[in-house]
Symmetry: C2
C-alpha cells in the first residue's frame, strides 16, 4: 500500500463491490453496455469512455477486445440483431425478386438506424485499414443473392443466362449509391425505377 494512504478509495465503479468479471461474462456486459449506449446516445455521441463507464470498467478493458468504436458497435449489433440476412427472395418473377431484395435492404437500413450506418461509414472511410477489413463483406452483399435470383429467372426464360456481374449487381449498387449520396433510403418510386427502367431492360433475352 505505497500509493493510496487515503482510507476512502474512489468507489470501484462496477456494481458488485469487489467482484471482477472475466471472459464471456465480462464481454457480454461490455457489449450490452455498448448497445445501451448506442440506443441512448446514438453513434455520433457514443464514446469508448461512456461505454466503459456504463459497464463499470475502464477503457483499457474495451481496447483489449476491440480496436475502436466501429468494431465495438458492430459487435454489439451482431449480438443484438439476429442478422437474418440469408433469405433469398423467391416470388416467382425476376421483377418481384429484385424488388423484394431492395425492400429487404431498405428494411435492414431502417432497423439499423441510418444514423448508425452513416456514422460507421464515416469511420470506415477515414481508416483505410479498417475499410479493407470489411470491404469484401459489403462489396459482396449483392452478388450472391442476385446470382441465385438471376439463375432462377434465366431458367424461367425471363432473363438471359449470360448476365455480366456488373449488370447483375446494378440494382444493389444503385441502391447503395442512393444511400451514400442522398443519406436516406431510396423512395419506393426510385426502387421501382431502378428495377423497371434500368435493370430489367438489360436482362431480357
Amino acid at each position: 500500500m505505497t500509493r493510496s494512504p487515503e482510507p476512502l478509495q474512489p468507489q470501484p465503479r462496477h456494481s458488485g463491490g469487489k467482484t471482477r468479471r472475466r471472459g464471456a461474462a465480462l464481454e457480454t456486459a461490455l457489449i450490452d453496455a455498448a448497445w445501451d449506449e448506442l440506443q441512448a446516445a446514438g453513434y455520433a455521441s457514443l464514446t469508448m469512455e461512456a461505454v466503459a463507464a456504463r459497464a463499470g470498467t475502464s477503457r483499457a478493458v474495451l481496447y483489449r477486445r476491440w480496436r475502436g468504436r466501429p468494431e465495438l458497435v458492430i459487435a454489439a449489433m451482431r449480438r443484438h440483431r439476429p442478422m437474418l440476412s440469408g433469405e433469398v427472395p423467391d416470388t416467382g418473377s425476376l421483377r418481384g425478386d429484385v424488388l423484394a431484395l431492395l425492400h429487404q435492404m431498405s428494411g435492414r437500413l431502417a432497423e439499423t438506424g441510418p444514423e448508425t450506418v452513416y456514422g460507421l461509414l464515416g469511420d470506415y472511410f477515414a481508416d483505410a485499414e479498417l475499410f479493407s477489413r470489411i470491404q469484401d463483406q459489403v462489396l459482396q452483399i449483392g452478388t450472391g443473392v442476385m446470382a441465385t435470383i438471376l439463375k432462377r429467372a434465366a431458367d424461367r426464360g425471363e432473363a438471359r443466362h449470360d448476365i455480366s456481374s456488373m449488370i447483375a449487381t446494378l440494382p444493389t449498387d444503385l441502391f447503395r449509391h442512393q444511400i451514400f449520396l442522398a443519406r436516406t433510403p431510396p423512395s419506393e418510386r426510385v426502387i421501382v425505377e431502378i428495377v423497371d427502367d434500368v435493370f430489367l431492360p438489360l436482362t431480357r433475352p
Copy 2:
C-alpha cells in the same frame, strides 16, 4: 506582467518577431500552411494543431475562419488547384463524350489524391450537418454535364430525347459507386463496361 515571471518567453511562433498578420495576408498564410501540411502529412494525419504550428499561430485563428479540418482542406484545395471543372467533353459521339467524362473524373480523383478524398468522405459521413452543406454540389456533378452531352447526342440521333434523369446519371453514379466501394478509381475495363454494356443500351432510340 503578473503571469510570466520567466524571462525567456516561449518563442513567439510566427517568424517576424512581433509582427501580427491580418486579413488576406494571414488567410493566405494559413491556407498555404494547410496545403503544405496536407502534402507532408496526408489528410488522415493532418491536425489543426499542426497547421497552426506550421503557420506560426494558434488553433483559435483557424477556427475563426473554418469550421474544422474538412473545410480548411477544401479551402486549401480550392486555392491550390484551379478546379478547371467546366469543360464538357465534345468528341462527336455519345460514347466518346461519356468515356471522356469518366476519364476526366478519374483524372480529378488522381490529382486530388485518393487518400484525401476518402478522408474527406469520412468526415462528411460522420457529420450530417457538414454533409448536407455539400450534398447538392456533389450530387449534381453528373447531372449538368450529362444533360448537355445527351442533348447533343439526341440531336445527332444517337440517343432518345426522353432519357430519365436516373439513366442520364448512370455513368457518373456507377463510377462514384465504384470509387466508394473499391476505394480506388475504376479500371479502364470497368469504365468501358459501364458505358458500353449499361449506359448506351439504355439510351438508343
